[in-house]
């Protein structure tokens, strides 16, 4: 019964292709980042970590736009924790040779670290709730509150006068400050990370839905119709 009611729709059919596309684009992005993009005149090869750091930070914020779908929310939150953690670690490694410190109390860094802790709190809240409906409600409410923090992160870039690299891609007016090859490599890296995110997301949503169906089946209840 559970097997027959589990959705075998479009999302399941495209997942293997999404995985292949993610792996291929990730390989291309890695080659471009490590071999094709030129060495920065000031920072040397160290700047290449930007191709991991920037897309990871970008994806760290993505989850908060999908709070209405509980399974997608938990999948995105877990991936958000992974990518935000990756962005913080990669940023720290990048900061040491360029700024001379592993960490600085710059507002955007601090806010990202605070967001990381918020994600962890969100997952902790979910893990302590056993009832699916109540857990979804609590998590959605917390998700909405945490989303309020995202504009603070963005505005801190504009308000703070600090060590952190100014926005290089989405600047108000003017062309991006990067070399064109660096910019292309960064864009490919962002695309690769986005595909990786989508692949992780679809797999995690499927796992979450399957888990719910199994629990409902074990309880002897009629499983609800899944999207």
């Amino acid at each position: 019964m559970i097997e027959t009611t589990f959705p075998r729709g479009f999302a399941l059919r495209i997942r293997p292709w999404l995985g292949i596309a993610a792996a291929a684009s990730f390989a291309v992005a890695s080659v471009m980042a490590l071999a094709w993009a030129p060495t920065d005149a000031v920072q040397g090869d160290v700047y290449r970590i930007m191709y991991v750091h920037v897309p990871a930070a970008w994806l760290g914020w993505l989850w908060s736009k999908r709070p209405w779908f509980d399974a997608a929310a938990v999948a995105s939150a877990e991936i958000g924790v992974l990518f935000t953690g990756l962005a913080l670690v990669a940023g720290s490694i990048w900061a040491k040779p360029t700024w001379g410190v592993w960490w600085t109390w710059e507002p955007r860094l601090v806010t990202t670290a605070v967001m990381f802790v918020m994600y962890v709190g969100y997952l902790l809240l979910r893990s302590l709730s056993t009832d699916f409906d109540r857990r979804a409600t609590r998590a959605a409410i917390l998700g909405v509150i945490l989303v309020l923090d995202v504009p603070i992160v963005h505005l801190s870039v504009l308000w703070a006068n600090s060590l952190h690299q100014l926005p290089t891609v989405l600047r108000a007016g003017g062309s991006p400050a990067l070399d064109s090859a660096m910019l292309l490599t960064l864009m490919v890296s962002v695309a690769a990370f986005t595909l990786v995110y989508l692949y992780f997301m679809s797999a995690r949503v499927a796992i979450e839905l399957s888990r719910r169906m199994t629990i409902w089946g074990a309880a002897g209840a009629q499983p609800p119709r899944l999207p």
Binding site: T111, V114, M115, V117, M118, V120, G121, L124, L125, L128, S129, R134, T137, R138, I141, L142, V144, I145, L146, L148, D149, I152
Partner: protein, 222 residues
């Protein structure tokens, strides 16, 4: 009875319960007082007199005190099975949230008064702009309360909630703590413009989280 009257009723009921059984407020006042005393021992008397350091420790202590008071308040409802009765009343959830926020802000005001006087006396802090200090403290307390009540509601009836509530609340409170600390430090050292600017930000936080809480949190009260 209007919604505002219901909120007032819940708040006054909450405050009279706190007056009869003031364990939450007493614990919060003691906690803040101990932290103020520890401050000069831990960081040294000269650094403790720095307005920013003193203000930061004061607000961190107040944030923890807010969590203690709010958790005790909901524990009292759960112990007496009073929460279910409140929730089923017409508009009960909105009134419960609003009343709890008002009562928490009032109790925190008292805690802040005691902690503030202790800080001023023991640390010999300058008090350049007393009216501005009061303004920052009032707005800071009002900005803390909705977030703390929201997080206590979200963790209601969960195991390990004593650990969960600070983990949920403190990261969300970072902007309020930064603004309140900067505002208080500016008021202590005589920078009226900065104190008023930070007060405005605190007012904005209080409004945003108050409205968000009233809109969505009643759905989470079980």
């Amino acid at each position: 009875m209007t919604g505002l009257a219901r909120v007032g009723l819940v708040a006054s009921r909450e405050l009279s319960a706190e007056r009869r059984q003031p364990d939450g407020a007493v614990a919060a006042v003691t906690f803040v007082a101990v932290l103020v005393l520890l401050e000069s021992l831990v960081v040294g008397p000269s650094r403790a007199r720095d307005a920013t350091v003193a203000a930061a420790l004061f607000w961190i202590a107040l944030a923890f005190a807010a969590i203690v008071v709010a958790m005790r308040s909901f524990d009292r409802e759960l112990d007496d099975d009073a929460l279910d009765a409140l929730v089923v009343l017409p508009g009960g959830r909105d009134a419960l949230f609003g009343g709890k926020v008002l009562a928490l802000a009032a109790t925190l005001g008292l805690v802040a008064l005691v902690g503030g006087v202790l800080s001023l006396v023991l640390l010999d802090l300058p008090l350049a702009l007393p009216v501005h200090v009061v303004l920052v403290v009032v707005l800071g307390v009002v900005a803390l309360a909705p977030v703390v009540v929201v997080d206590v509601v979200l963790a209601l009836r969960l195991r390990a909630r004593a650990a969960l509530v600070p983990i949920l609340a403190l990261p969300v409170l970072v902007p309020q703590l930064v603004s309140a600390t900067q505002g208080a430090a500016a008021a202590l050292t005589g920078d009226a413009t900065a104190a008023l600017a930070w007060s405005g930000i605190l007012l904005a936080f209080a409004l945003v989280y108050g409205v968000v809480g009233l809109t969505i949190v009643p759905a989470a009260i079980e």
